[in-house]
Symmetry: C2
Subunit: 283 residues, 2 copies
């Protein structure tokens, strides 16, 4: 179209994608273009603001590498990652939460009841529960992939003092769907704030803290893999998570373990108990 | 907030920026977040689609450098750059169009009536007109910065066969606001399509062509600088510009120059005449 105006440009751009083979792509692009243009019109976006947005993306590209993804971080702090998780929710299934940037492939396998504490300082925690289906029946042999930060708030990838795969492990639920392992309580931490996302947080009057959490991917044949996080009910950042990952149903009240609880794991009081049953939705 | 849901997350994210010092930033972010979330909810954006979007941005970051900006190109082919230009429009002033990626600082100064043809092949064109204010009065000594592609569709930065600053120049309008110079008619060309934007164009059933154009930045003290492009009324891509830069008011009907027209410039027929008066809006 040669007579492009502020009022017809949106239809012109949507129309230009009319030849896309994928109906889904046409639909997604038409909504993306509509919202992008409506945003620009509503705020009367200036060339200087447009340039600032382009510069933000360029800086995010420059600071990203195999170990850091500033675009995911931007999606996180704008709540988009969390919203995508929420849209995946299924009745009767555990709520989903952010994957985050620290998941690692190849975490070592633990036996049921295995130990991740080893040389770590921090409050010992016995983590245990079951993997169930939406109806509450145990799922046999579900696979759990677990990772967390240490008591200093750092993941092993960020901290040369920690051994590789420190506080990371995979385990298989038993024939009753039960899992258990021992670890330490992690600490809250900051998302990286030395890049453009950090500048946006500062300009927006925001902090970069996340509440402490355990991270899980739970998978079993015939069920949708579940990526989620478990939080602690006394965490000061529960209501101010920089990435909006907290769900009320994922907040744990830690119990105090007694001698009998600890015996199978070689743990002596004082230690805490984190009990949580995962529920997977069928594919 | 710990009880984040798909319905309250948008207000939670907007609220997190409530401490921003800049009222404008709060407003722009609130509309950006609203549209981003509404988009995700409306299309029920899947984790795979979210990941495809993140990968698009990562690839755009990797392919961008000082000489290429894939984020600007993405903004261009989604019509956002053009919309921002259109939002800047002022009554009685020349319409704006895309800056594009090929503007160069430091183009050599030409006298009024100067020549850019030199060793270039292609149809000679005498470009002439005036620089006026919104009321039609001449602006004395306005500065014009001009650039174009060669007859092969390439800018000098893309083509080692062309001398530096080939078909680029700056000139000053005279005391009656008049400007004139000689050049050749440029050719249509493709925007770069070897990156993620190219993949999107292909998936969307789109081509990468732009109609041929002259590019200008016209500036004068007390007026807003004008970035715009002039097109040719017989161009096959006028109604299908990959970046939506065409405006009806910027399309030239080229005349045929006669001997008298050409004499001051050392041009002999056949040659074409492109006549255009720029109108700047006061700051």
């Amino acid at each position: 179209m040669r007579n492009i105006t502020r009022d017809n440009i949106t239809q012109a751009v949507i129309g230009s994608f009319g030849g896309a083979e994928s109906e889904r792509l046409r639909f997604v692009l038409s909504r993306l273009i509509t919202h992008l243009h409506d945003f620009a019109r509503e705020v009367e976006l200036t060339p200087e603001e447009w340039k600032a947005g382009i510069d933000f993306l360029c800086r995010a590209g420059k600071i990203s590498d195999d170990a850091r993804n500033e675009f995911i971080l931007a999606s996180d702090i704008l709540g988009l990652s969390s919203l995508v998780d929420l849209l995946q929710g299924a009745a009767g299934a555990t709520e989903r939460s952010n994957l985050g940037p620290f998941h690692a492939e190849g975490s070592p396998a633990l036996p049921v009841g295995g130990d991740l504490i080893r040389s770590n300082d921090g409050e010992p925690v016995l983590v245990r529960g079951r993997v169930l289906d939406q109806a509450g029946a145990p799922i046999l042999g579900a696979q759990l992939d677990f990772w967390q930060a240490a008591a200093n708030g750092l993941y092993w990838q960020q901290d040369p003092q920690q051994p590789r795969y420190n506080l990371y492990g995979t385990l298989r639920a038993d024939a009753q769907g039960r899992y258990a392992f021992t670890t330490i309580r992690p600490a809250p931490y900051n998302v990286p704030y030395d890049g453009p996302v950090g500048d946006l947080l500062r300009a927006g009057g925001r902090h970069a803290w996340r509440p402490a959490h355990f991270h899980f991917i739970v998978a079993a044949d015939g069920y949708r893999p579940l990526t989620t996080e478990l939080y602690f009910d006394d965490d000061r950042y529960l209501d101010a998570d920089a990435v909006f990952g907290v769900r009320e149903s994922l907040v744990l009240a830690l119990g105090n373990g007694d001698a009998e609880d600890g015996r199978p794991y070689g743990l002596k009081p004082p230690f805490r108990v984190a009990q949580f049953d995962f529920r997977l939705d069928a594919e």
